[in-house]
């Protein structure tokens, strides 16, 4: 008998197992969530169930930027006020939300849905790189900003995309690396400090 199924009823066990499969949710957390839902009102459980079904049935990938959206093309890609000569390339849809919250970027996005990770066997063919190249070939784009995560896999992805795009005559830049606002120079790591010095600008 499965250790998760020992003290619980069958529907509860099923729910615990389903929750346990989600990223970041271990057995204990799955049990807590399942028992919370058991105690919650029928309306709350129904709302959650409908939301889960809806996200699978109604959410689509935008054919242009590959972001998760209600319609294809998404509202960002249809927005006439956005600068179509600028594309910001991000790893995940959540990165689009983070950049939009900043309010500092007025161009379009492209979501790769991951990053190159040779050790995990994730290559460019597993990402939306081909779709990005197709957008560049349309000729409207003048600059691509790589906003991949500042780690080894993110850097590898940026450099690979840069190698593919450079022959096409498009400017490829990447987000600056430096000290976070409110951070402490004393505790900054050497890589961040050296990048901050490289990318310094006059006051």
């Amino acid at each position: 008998m499965d250790r998760l199924s020992v003290p619980t009823s069958r529907p509860l066990t099923r729910l615990i197992e389903a929750l346990n499969r989600m990223p970041g949710i271990g057995p204990k957390m799955a049990q807590r969530l399942a028992y919370y839902l058991l105690r919650a009102s029928a309306e709350e459980a129904q709302t959650l169930a409908e939301a889960i079904v809806a996200v699978k049935e109604e959410a689509v990938l935008c054919a242009i930027c590959q972001n998760t959206a209600d319609t294809s093309p998404c509202t960002l890609c249809q927005d006439p006020t956005r600068d179509r000569s600028l594309i910001c390339v991000v790893e995940e849809p959540l990165d689009v939300l983070a950049l939009e919250r900043s309010g500092a970027f007025k161009g379009l996005y492209h979501v790769l849905h991951g990053c190159i990770s040779p050790i995990d066997g994730v290559g460019p063919e597993d990402l939306k790189v081909r779709e990005l190249l197709a957008r560049i070939h349309d000729g409207e784009v003048q600059e691509v900003i790589m906003a991949t995560n500042p780690n080894l896999e993110g850097e590898a992805t940026s450099m690979y995309v840069q190698r593919l795009l450079s022959p096409l005559g498009v400017k490829v830049s990447r987000l600056a690396r430096g000290l976070p606002f409110g951070g402490d120079v004393e505790y900054a790591d050497e890589v961040t400090l050296s990048r901050a010095l490289q990318d310094r600008h006059s006051l």
Binding site: I119, M159, R163, G183, Y187, D189, E190, V191, T192
Partner: protein, 254 residues
Amino acid sequence: MLGGTRLGEADRLVTLYTQRRGKVRAVVRGALRPRSRLGGHIQPLSHCQLMLTESKGLDVVTGCQIIGPLFPMREDLVHHARGFYLMELIDCFCPEGLENPALFSLLVDTLEHLCLGEGGERVLRRFEVRLLDITGFRPELHCCLGCQQALEPVTNYLSPSAGGLLCRACAPEQSPVHSVSVNTVKVLRLLREADMETVNRLNLAPDLAAELEAALRSYIQYVLERSIKSGVWLERLRREFGPNGALGGPQNGR
């Protein structure tokens, strides 16, 4: 650091290769937060002094100081790929908690030379040969493992299952085998003993370098019983951008 995965909201579970304790897994609390004091230090391809605190089952990283910054590894796509390759090899060959100071020194030495842009692929071949030696998979390169006779200076055969070279007469009895020229055998013997300066001076013809790489790759794959994914990535970069483009200029050539 050999690799890592996200743990919870902002923590990372990292695999480290250490001088005193070999391969260990540890948690870096809050590593994914922008203001994390540890997240920037603990990145793959960095040589650090770490402070680990034993916790329930898993160690927790509580302090970190970079010893040897390996910045150039992050500045070039092929350096990246080579670094990934080294990390994957170490991860595959080393069980958790088994210290191996010789292998640690070899890894640090190899990474530092790759950072200097010296040796290129030859440094990887030296690493592979020395890795097999240190971990106990040293291939026999002087006499035939079938008939025990000294090898003639002709094309011989590397048999991963036999654990080294076979002569022409004994090779058909073993499978699979990889034909290796006299020069490849000479280079394999040299790499076993050679220091980095000697490796830097080596000038390998493309055919010889390819044969050497293929022979070592098949041997390592047999030992590990799996393919090296980052090796496939390195080959892909060479195929897509050409040997010179991928190798980033003459200083990084074979």
